[in-house]
């Protein structure tokens, strides 16, 4: 099965692990991710202002590239996913916005919002299936107590992201179970790590990330997984004394495809 | 040219007659001319092979005939339904107008029907035969030595140009391929009239409706007009049939008719097809459909059986009649 794949800027730089383990694991699951050609940055954040058009064009182009290949689109970075999905939603539901966008893009052909966007996790759940995943696991992570950290971008706004119940998500926990480990449910898993505000206010990030780590540990976690490079950065920088890893890395480990990619 | 052939239809109908699945076939029969097709009931194979036709002039929507035929014919009736006909079929079922058990419906694909007036406009009068079997229509005329070739697309009836659906919404059996619901431009003409000034609109309709001869063909063919007694035939209704004496009489007829079918009209276009005066009557129905879609949400009569039409429904937040006027162009 083939999908268009959008890695995004950070996955080619500071978060190479997120990227390469995603591709490796997908292959092991029989899915081939075809990276979109000449992609541009998603935009980093989705500007909710309805009159911001130009800043969202690069996301529209990503969506259009997948549509031109008649493929569904898969993203893995939480931020990219949030931006691309929200942009797609605006293209589908905000007629004024989509007509303005299409006027900008007249020369390259329009886009109608028809691309289906999956986050890598959704691909695991909806396309591969967690039962099928369980069967492919060669190194069950038994005995590990893993806390899934969703952050804010994967789940919210719930009406747009539609990934899972924004207050009581289960998608990563189900994945953890499928990999043979025990998920740790903790309240702050969908609270913000501090995000990009770390640039201006490292104290805020410290406090927020600290809350997440403390809560996860208090509930018994000995490892935290995430889908977002910025979350990982904030957690690591702010005193995480348990490992914080990308979920794809853990997946690759369970699927037995981690070692051979060691560089 | 139709993708499915007459022979295929006859073969299937014959088979169903033979094995006793059905006792009658409601189909199209040859009239005086090739383009003059009439609905007919066939009850044996020989009459099928002799008279059954299927070509680019088989516009007639048989749904309405089921109301009377189910009452008068014994046994089960096979009916051929083009995609647009199936909407009327469902709508009549919604209104409990015939017994579904007595009907065997075969959905057939339709490539659009030709308008004989458009053919005549190209080929002139004196058409002696039309061959619909090729890519193009081949029209033989008594005034021309060789047949004239006409592009089907150029002579499609208005309703087929703006075809709303190639998808059947009801059938027991489907012959040929299923199509899709289309994105038609059927409301463009209505919007054009809406854009006129009231005086222009009045003049437009004055011109159109004053040609009405009250022949009642529109009513008689309309699959929504299946009343046991039509109000225009009922002396107690206060609007019983009268010859038109001036401009208002026929306007009243057409407003009342349009209102009576509002929310039930599937936009099959039969009214305009049969109007001998070529009055674009379907525009009145489309005006209601457009208005209801815009004010109360998209609704396609006949899409499902048992649906509630916008006029037998309401919400607490509906627009006031005044707001309906003032809502402006919501499409802008």
């Amino acid at each position: 099965m083939k999908f268009s794949y959008f890695p995004g800027c950070t996955l080619k730089n500071k978060a190479k692990d997120l990227d390469r383990y995603a591709i490796r694991s997908a292959e092991a699951l029989g899915i081939s991710l075809e990276e979109i050609e000449n992609w541009q940055c998603c935009g980093g954040v989705f500007t909710t202002a309805r009159d911001e058009i130009a800043t969202k064009l690069s996301s529209v182009r990503i969506l259009k590239a997948a549509k031109d290949k008649e493929q569904d689109l898969i993203t893995v970075c939480s931020a990219c996913h949030n931006v691309v999905k929200q942009t797609n939603n605006a293209m589908q539901n905000d007629a004024e916005f989509s007509s303005k966008v299409n006027r900008y893009m007249a020369s390259e052909g329009g886009y109608d919002g028809s691309t289906t966007v999956y986050h890598y996790l959704e691909m695991l759940r909806d396309i591969v299936g967690f039962d099928a995943l369980r069967e492919k696991v060669v190194k069950p992570l038994s005995g590990k107590k893993i806390a899934a950290y969703y952050g804010c971008l994967l789940l919210r706004p719930g009406s747009v992201m539609k990934m899972d119940d924004p207050e009581n998500p289960t998608i990563m926990e189900d994945m953890i179970r499928a990999m043979g480990a025990e998920p740790v449910i903790y309240g702050n898993r969908n609270e913000c790590c501090g995000g990009y505000v770390v640039m201006e206010s490292p104290e805020l990030a410290k406090k927020k990330s600290g809350d997440v780590i403390r809560n996860a540990k208090a509930q018994g976690a000995d490892m935290i997984i995430t889908a977002c490079p910025l979350c990982k950065y904030n957690l690591m920088k702010n005193g995480a004394d348990v490992p914080v890893v990308y979920f794809t890395e853990l997946l690759a480990e369970a699927l037995g495809v981690k070692e051979d990619t060691n560089e | 040219m139709q993708k499915i052939t007459k022979e295929q239809l006859i073969e299937r109908a014959s088979a169903l007659l033979r094995d006793g699945t059905v006792n009658h076939v409601l189909g199209w029969a040859q009239g005086e001319f090739d383009y003059d097709i009439t609905p007919a009931v066939f009850s044996d194979e020989s009459s099928l092979t002799g008279n059954f036709v299927w070509n680019d002039f088989c516009g007639a929507n048989f749904s309405k005939y089921l109301v009377s035929k189910c009452r008068t014919l014994e046994g089960k009736i096979l009916v051929f339904l083009k995609p647009c006909d199936t909407y009327s079929f469902n709508q009549l079922l919604t209104e409990h107008r015939f017994d579904r058990e007595k009907v065997y419906a075969i959905g057939i694909p339709c490539e659009g029907m030709a308008d004989i007036d458009k053919v005549k406009a190209i080929c002139g009068d004196g058409i002696s035969s039309i061959d619909c079997s090729g890519e193009k229509l081949s029209v033989t005329s008594i005034y021309e030595d060789s047949p004239i070739s006409v592009n089907t697309a150029d002579v499609l009836t208005e309703r087929c140009v703006n075809c709303k659906s190639k998808k059947h919404v009801a059938y027991d059996e489907l012959l040929g391929d299923e199509g899709d619901i289309l994105d038609s431009a059927r409301f463009d003409e209505v919007a054009k009239i809406e854009a006129m000034t009231p005086d222009e609109r009045f003049a437009f309709w004055q011109n159109e409706l004053s040609r009405c001869i009250r022949c009642n063909a529109c009513r008689d063919v309309c699959p929504a007009c299946t009343c046991e007694v039509c109000v225009f035939n009922n002396p107690k209704s206060g609007v019983e049939n009268k010859a038109p004496a001036n401009s208002f009489e026929e306007k009243m007829f057409h407003i009342i008719r349009a209102f009576h079918v509002a929310g039930r009209c599937t936009d099959c276009g039969e009214c305009s097809r049969v109007c001998p005066q070529n009055i674009p009557l379907h525009l009145l129905n489309r005006k209601f459909i457009k208005e209801m879609n815009e004010c109360y949400g998209e609704y396609q009569a006949g899409e499902t059986v048992g649906s509630k039409s916008p006029l037998t429904d309401y919400t607490l937040e509906d627009l006031e009649p005044g707001e309906v006027f003032d809502r402006g162009d919501i499409n802008a």
Binding site: D165, E167, E191 | R71, E95, H96, R97, E228, V229
Partner: protein
Amino acid sequence: MQRIGVFVCWCGSNIAGTVDVVAVAEALKKEPGVVFSTDYQYMCSQAGQDLIVSSVKEHNLTGLVICSCSPRMHEATFRKTAQVAGLNPYMVEIANIREQCSWVHKDMPIGTEKAIILGKAAVAKVNLNAPLTPGESPVTKRALVIGGGIAGIQTALDIADAGFPVDIVEKKPTIGGKMAQLDKTFPTLDCAACILTPKMVDVAQHENIRIFSYSEVTDVKGFIGNFDVTIKKNARFVNEDICTGCGDCVTKCPQKKVPNEFNLGMDNRSAIYIPFAQAVPKVATIDPAHCTMLKTGKCGVCSKVCKANAIDYTQKDEFITERYGAIVVATGFDPISMDKFDEFAYNQSKDVITSLEFERLTNAAGPTAGKLLRPSDGEHPHKIVFVQCVGSRCDSCAEKGKEYCSKICCMYTAKHAMLTRDKYPDTEVYVFYIDVRTPGKNFDEFYRRAVEEYDVHYIKGMVGKITPEGKKLMVRASDLLDGKQLNIDADLVVLATAIEPDKSARSLATMLTASMDTNDFFTEAHPKLRPVESPTAGVFLSGTCQGPKDIPETVSQAGAAASKVIGLLAKDKLKGNPCVASSDELMCNGCSSCEKVCPYGAITYENKEFRMPDRTTRVRRVASVNPAVCQGCGCCTVTCPSGAMDLRGFMNEQIMAEVDAICK
């Protein structure tokens, strides 16, 4: 042809001051059908009425037009007059030449001209009037109450006390409803069980009341005075008549791990159970989903221990059909599910509970025997946070919650807070509120006591997030008045959940053709003037099925519904409004359009045989209007495409004639 008499009233100078009444009488004489026309000073006086009666006799009149004040004033008077004169009362039409003519116009010629036109319209209508007789239907003197909570109990008792037999249908094994689960009641703090259970006993002992517990209504046919209702008695595998309620089976049942719904799953019960000690009827019920005997055929302990031999594993569901004159809906409410509100961590921690769960935790018959202990570890909580408005007052487009105020939460939260502080003074109690709504007798005083005497911390602001951490619940909330964000490490959090109508109400409404609002609360026939009646005649509303209510309101509404039922059942026959719709079967298409717009469910369809001109018969589906149910709005007449449906007293022809007379 009618013989119409016209009577023009002066109303002293009220009419005669601006309308030339003599000219009006004279002008109307020329109208078709009019054989007599006169004027008089006060037509409504005894002398005026006598004049009408004698004129009817003298001129052999068949119809009357009274040109006078508004029909809303004296239509009934003149109809009686007509009856005295031997005419059908519906052969009278009023031309309103006072309120709608002489009083609003100043100029005599103009007033006179308009009065004549109004008179002509009335004459035109009377020409087409036909005698109307109100339909009569018998009344079955038995009522059905659906739901056995406090609303149903009170309604049933009141009806039964008036001497009419009542059946209560309750889907649970016992009556009592939500009130039976409560601990204390606001604002008096008397114990719910102490005031409810005697009433339950009254119900059980009342000679006019039958209880169908563990039962549900599955079908309703008929109309006011004559509802045929099918009741399904679910098999409880215990013979109700024999069971003594001794409880031996309950004690001995080996399957004891069934979540106890009466305690909202906070403890367990056995597979054979009696919901609570004061249950009515006090008989055991076997839960087939958990009974080993019913599931595997092996066990039979209860049967062995039962001295009364009441256990019957072969019992089947039983269907009973009864006829009732009136139906009272008292289906009550449920707290909404907290699944979509997990920012409050209800699914993450046992120590986040709903208010109803809190009631059980403080109830002496509850899972902790009345000690307030944390469900997670059984420890005493020292810091409790109450959150109000959880799921209430939400935006309609929000995907969770209800748009309305649930009404009772402010008061019961105050009660919970106060009781907690009273019993456990070492406990800190916080209440987060948006508004505290206390309209009701002694309500605000009660709330103020909680604040002032019991030192409950009321904080204006909403809780945004609850994070379980270790043994604590970290509550993040805003304090809007102090402009602070608070972080409280609570031991227990109580959510004042919104309430919603019981889930069974929707299907019941369909059976009853009773209308509901978008929230599935039953709608009233009139929100102000007929608040305990459903628009469907003969169906009455009691308690929270109609909208959120507290106990006193529920009880008073229950009494009101009962009095309406008694009023109905006291009649031997029902006289309807004769101005009802009727369908001309020969013209009816059977298309169901009219049925869709009828707010009363008065229209049904039947397949009727018609004789055709060729002597064959044909069966056709046609509409038929039940005159006992139709209220005469006429909505169906306009929806009917063929014009088969018409409204007596306001027929198409009559209104057209009025239009013609006015526009002539």
